[in-house]
């Protein structure tokens, strides 16, 4: 559909309006412009979705081409979009959740002096994210990819006067750039392999030309995954995401939970055909995803900043999505992406509501007992926590369980066990958060205790909408029921090539019986309940126990609390080393070597001049004598010849 360009164009118009004239508009107008732009984008997306559904499944692909962006010789890239069911899911999530978060922001940021700037950035982000998911080729995707990185940088460092905030923004951008390095190389390799960057053409050519396990495709997919690791905060490039919590909380909800960080997962799913041709890359994706899921969950266990716990939880959940994609369960990965967008956005917005109520307090040790004062926040937060922990019938249950189950049936037993353990950890740290924040005694600073108030309507409504979505969002993909997997059917045309490749030759497609599926489902729920139960015992029933455990395993506790010292390691090994190196080189090569030669050349002639000037005595007769001597010498020379 040619009008697809309208979807990113609306937020872009909002960005231009608020960016150029925002300071002259009233807050209400700014909010109207920003939210209106998102609402229009969402409405357009819904319209296109409706149009898409009217076509038969194999016709649900549109490729509007707008103009030639770059063309040099045989290299040519169009500004083109690709609209298929996968894009549609992403567009709906981005515009829908984005719209809710814009509404929420009007309340949350109400007293901030940079109101217009905030909404301008937020709209720009939406625009870039939509370009990313709508992209019809790798380069347009890269535009969105870098664009969201830029907005993330700007919004993390939104309160730029705070040193930690601007540090975090910079860190996010640079770490992402390291990932983009891989992405760029992947683009180059793709182009010189396939002669095009257009998704459909690449996949078509790849299916024709390459056998599974081909080295070139493996290289491309691994390099692409480096990009995904940076953007989606996986090991070892996850370090920027926890720091990104310096940004305003709705930003964390939108960018660092619901949308931008899932771009890597989207990209892997988009290139599913290539990944299916590269079993090695699939293994790497699955392993990295699983490792990150567990690794981040362990750190999340002991963090005390409410947003940081959620940040590590996001890293961990993204790991699950990659695990899903890595084992070939692309639908499950995208499904989890979608439900995660609902419940994680809700968790962040709920956390924002708490922080808002407490006047900026983020430490869960100084919270507690907020259930009565913040009922809406509590109940919605609880719904989201149940969803992320994977309790029936909340959204997270269906998506996470599908990933776990697919991991098992594709024969990744070790990964399954690890991921299941991670699920228990998830349930534990989420309910630790719930209990310490909303239940138990109040540890709130008495100063601010009587200011505590429930969020205004603009913030409460998005919370409630998202809570409903966190509950029902999973019902589009219900296992074991006839016609239960609607999302799977909707997405099937996108992934059919990849899945065809994966089932080919292997026993991949052999579906386990309903009975087994039921058993493992029950196991997931039991594990989650166990995590919740443990959290209840530690933080509600016996609040002194966590300290005792921490004291007992003090070394392990310290490692976890300090996030395995990874940040310190990077700082020391990479940052400081490079800076030191730069200083040394500057001192020795630029100053001591090159400039010394240059200045030395100058000094040589000046020196020579100071000695040679003595010849110039100023006595005319000396000059005459040398002329005579010269003449005599010349004559002698002439005679000698």
């Amino acid at each position: 559909m040619d009008s697809a360009w309208l979807i990113p164009a609306f937020p872009f118009a909002g960005f231009v309006l608020n960016g150029l004239w925002g300071r002259r508009l009233s807050r209400k107008q700014v909010g109207m412009v920003a939210c209106g732009a998102m609402a229009l984008a969402f409405a357009t997306a819904l319209g296109l979705f409706w149009l898409l559904l009217r076509h038969s499944p194999d016709q649900r692909v549109w490729e509007p081409v707008y103009y030639t962006w770059m063309a040099v010789g045989d290299f040519s890239v169009n500004a083109s979009f690709l609209l298929d069911p996968l894009t549609m899911v992403m567009v709906l999530v981005v515009t829908g959740v984005g719209f809710l978060i814009h509404i929420y922001s009007t309340g949350y940021m109400h007293d901030d002096p940079g109101y217009a700037r905030y909404f301008a950035y937020l709209n720009l982000f939406a625009c870039a994210m939509l370009i990313l998911v709508l992209a019809g080729n790798l380069l347009v995707l890269f535009v969105g990819w870098e664009g969201v990185g830029l907005c993330s940088y700007l919004l993390i460092g939104f309160w730029y006067e705070k040193q930690s905030a601007s540090d975090a923004g910079k860190k996010a951008f640079i770490v992402n750039r390291i990932g983009d390095f891989g992405f760029l190389l992947a683009i180059f390799l793709t182009f010189w392999t396939f002669g095009t960057l257009d998704f459909r053409e690449i996949f078509h050519a790849a299916l024709l030309r390459f056998q599974p396990g081909d080295g070139v495709v493996t290289a491309i997919t691994l390099l692409l995954f480096v990009g995904a690791v940076g953007k989606s905060a996986q090991l070892p490039l996850y370090v920027w995401l926890p720091d990104a919590m310096e940004g305003p909380t709705p930003v964390s909800a939108l960018i660092h939970a619901a949308t931008m960080v899932t771009a890597g997962v989207y990209m892997v799913a988009r290139c599913s055909v290539l990944y299916a041709l590269a079993p090695l890359s699939m293994g790497v994706v699955a392993a990295v995803g699983c490792a990150t899921a567990v690794f981040a969950a362990t750190i999340g266990l002991v963090q005390n900043d409410i947003k940081r716990v959620l940040a590590y939880s996001t890293v961990s959940q993204l790991g699950y999505m990659f695990l899903g994609c890595g084992v070939g369960a692309y639908v499950a990965g995208i499904f989890h992406l979608m439900t995660h967008a609902f419940f994680k956005a809700l968790l962040f917005l709920g956390a924002g509501s708490v922080i808002h109520a407490l006047g900026g307090e983020q430490d869960i040790r100084r919270m507690g007992g907020l259930r009565r004062q913040l009922p809406v926040t509590f109940w919605t937060f609880l719904a989201a926590s149940l969803a992320i922990s994977g309790i029936v019938p909340f959204a997270g249950f269906f998506s996470k369980d599908e990933i776990l189950f697919e991991t098992l049936v594709t024969g990744h037993g070790v990964l399954y066990v690890l991921a299941l353990g991670g699920a228990a950890l998830t349930a534990f740290y989420m309910f630790r958060l719930v209990f310490r924040t909303f239940l138990g005694e109040s540890h709130v600073d008495p100063e601010s205790a009587h200011h505590v108030h429930e969020a205004p309507l603009s913030m409460a409504v998005p919370l409630m909408v998202l809570a409903v979505l966190s509950l029902v969002g999973g019902w589009v993909q219900v296992p074991m029921l006839e016609n239960g997997k609607r999302l799977g059917r909707f997405l099937a045309p996108v992934f059919e090539d990849a899945e065809g490749l994966l089932t080919e030759g292997t026993a991949h497609g052999s579906h386990a019986s309903l009975w087994t599926e039921g058993v493992f489902m029950a196991l997931s729920v039991v594990v989650a309940l166990a995590g919740i139960g443990l959290a209840y015992r530690w933080y509600v029933a016996d609040p002194t126990r966590p300290e005792r455990v921490a004291a007992r395993f003090s070394r392990a506790y310290r490692w976890l609390l300090n996030k395995y010292y990874v940040d310190e390691l990077y700082q020391a090994v990479v940052v400081e080393l490079l800076k030191r190196l730069a200083e040394t080189v500057h001192e020795w090569v630029d100053r001591a070597a090159i400039d010394a030669v240059v200045d030395g050349a100058g000094a040589f002639f000046r020196h020579a001049g100071t000695h040679l000037r003595r010849i110039q005595t100023g006595l005319v007769q000396h000059y005459a004598l040398s002329i005579l001597a010269g003449a005599c010498l010349l004559i002698l020379a002439a005679l000698a010849v």
Binding site: W145, E161, L184, F188, I594, G602
Partner: protein, 522 residues
């Protein structure tokens, strides 16, 4: 004369000179009138450039708007101007920045205004002449002519502390290179006279020559040193930070935006076209130096304490990309290099303008003196941010197009080179954003910073066109690329022809050198 009834290139080159002549008769006590005269001359040049740009036919490969007249017929020196796809964009950039420079120094320069403006106009003539001259003596003349006003800009209007050192260093470095080029030109001339009997300095005649490999090596080196110093390539770069730091704002802008491009232009116009075999032979060395420049320049940026020095070193890094693209001998690489020359002119030019504006207000360029400037000067901060993002190659802005095409071309030849080059992209984000953070973010520390005035309409007016061009090239580079493609393709064809006939792959192969060398002796 391509739809124009008068010699438009001559008019373009000598309008600034005419402006300078008029300036001499303008009342010394009336600097405003002097500025207007200069602005008018620069604007006229820009209009001429627009006419040329608009009338340029991208489907033709040869020179257009050619003008030829005998000059010193006895020696075969002629007055020969012409424009093709390679020079077109650079001429347009030079002409575009002319009026902007005049506006930029409107308040900045208060002493010896007339002399300053005369220098600026002479510089403009010299730079346009370099890009348009097709006779090597004429080229050399313009090349040297532009050196003097530039050195004077640094020497007279520079920052008192080290301006003499910087000006002399700039002058000597460049002169040292030009001498080799002069010798090279003469060797070419006499070689042609000996083999064909024609005495001519015309580039077109030289292009028709088939030079022996041994001679090509020497000539490539002679021209190459002159151009490499101008670019500047590592390790000939140390004049640049000093010249940039000590020069007045406009001097830095012209230096970064146009002067450096004369080096890369020279490589593309002369070295690649005239000495294709030698280019192939030297390619590995040039690529290594280019990569070294990319990484080295970026590293140097990390330790700079002075804004201008930092941006100067970032130029070393960016020009490394241009050189990398040139010596990949792929259409993408060459086209990327050409567009990157323009991009660097715009983004670095804008950065120097902005630093100049900051300096005008605070009289310091030390990064440590700033912090939190976003609060008092939000508009300046926005422009600075955009220029920074263009400079670090954010897609959608101009810098990305150039870097992407260069690396794409490089990857085809050697993926490893592209990988090393791409680290420059990471480092660029690091040093530029760190610099922005230290200058614009954080708390405002001192009262001087708190009371800084934001941009005035004149400054906004001169920045907006630059930013508009950045976005334009970033979003729709194809019209620009199309203008230059045939000409670049022709240069490339010259190189590729010998690449195929000589079976010389671009690895540094001593045996190959020896056999070629011996073959020529016979």
């Amino acid at each position: 004369m391509d739809n124009v009834f008068f010699p438009i290139l001559t008019a373009m080159v000598f309008t600034p000179l005419l402006g300078a002549a008029i300036l001499v008769f303008v009342d010394r006590e009336n600097p405003t009138l002097q500025r207007w005269v200069t602005l008018l001359a620069m604007a006229a040049v820009f209009v001429f450039a627009l006419i040329v740009y608009g009338g340029f036919d991208p489907t033709r490969t040869g020179m257009q708007y050619e003008e030829w007249a005998p000059w010193v017929p006895a020696l075969g020196i002629s007055y020969h101007l012409g424009v093709d796809g390679i020079s077109l964009l650079l001429v347009a950039l030079t002409a575009f920045l002319g009026p902007i420079c005049v506006l930029a120094c409107w308040r900045d320069i208060q002493e010896h205004v007339k002399e300053f403006l005369v220098c600026l106009l002479l510089l403009q003539t010299g730079m346009l002449g370099v890009f348009l001259a097709l006779d090597l003596v004429l080229f050399y003349l313009f090349w040297e002519v532009m050196l003097i006003p530039m050195a004077l800009l640094i020497l007279v209007w520079g920052h008192p502390a080290r301006r003499v050192y910087a000006a002399v260093k700039f002058f000597l470095y460049t002169m040292a290179g030009s001498v080799f080029m002069l010798v090279g030109i003469l060797v070419l001339y006499f070689y042609q006279a000996k083999t064909t009997g024609t005495y001519s300095f015309d580039l077109m005649d030289f292009m028709a020559l088939r030079l022996p490999f041994r001679l090509q090596l020497w000539l490539f080196a002679a021209f190459g040193i002159a151009f490499a110093i101008k670019v500047p390539m590592f390790p000939f770069h140390t004049w640049l930070p000093d010249a940039h730091t000590e020069a007045p704002t406009v001097g830095s802008v012209v230096l970064a935006a146009v002067l450096l491009k004369m080096g890369t232009y020279g490589f593309l116009r002369f070295n690649l076209s005239l000495f294709p075999e030698a280019s192939i032979f030297f390619a590995p060395l040039m690529v290594v130096l280019a990569l070294a420049g990319i990484v080295y320049g970026a590293f140097m940026c990390l330790v700079q304490k002075d804004l201008k020095r930092l941006i100067a070193y970032s130029s070393v890094s960016h020009l490394g990309f241009v050189m990398l693209g040139l010596f990949t001998f792929t259409l993408q690489g060459l086209q990327g290099s050409l567009i990157q020359m323009i991009n660097h002119g715009l983004s670095t030019g804008a950065l120097f303008l902005l630093v100049g504006m900051i300096y005008e207000r605070r009289h310091t360029r030390m990064i440590a003196d700033f912090g939190g400037l976003s609060t008092p000067v939000p508009r300046l901060a926005v422009f600075f941010m955009i220029a920074t993002l263009a400079s670090i190659g954010l897609p959608g802005l101009n810098g990305f197009v150039g870097e992407f095409l260069i690396l794409l071309g490089t990857f085809k030849v050697k993926p490893l080179w592209a990988a090393v080059g791409a680290t420059g992209v990471i480092l660029a984000a690091w040093y530029m954003l760190w610099m922005v953070q230290r200058v614009f973010f954080g708390q405002v520390q001192s009262d001087e910073n708190r009371l800084m005035a934001d941009l005035v309409p004149r400054e906004v007016a001169l920045l907006v066109p630059v930013v508009a061009c950045m976005v334009w090239i970033g979003v729709a580079p194809t019209p620009f690329l199309k203008k230059s493609e045939p000409a670049v393709g022709r240069v490339l064809a010259r190189v590729q022809r010998v690449q195929h006939t000589a079976h010389l792959n671009s690895t540094w192969n001593p045996e190959c050198l020896v056999s070629w060398y011996l073959a020529d002796r016979k």
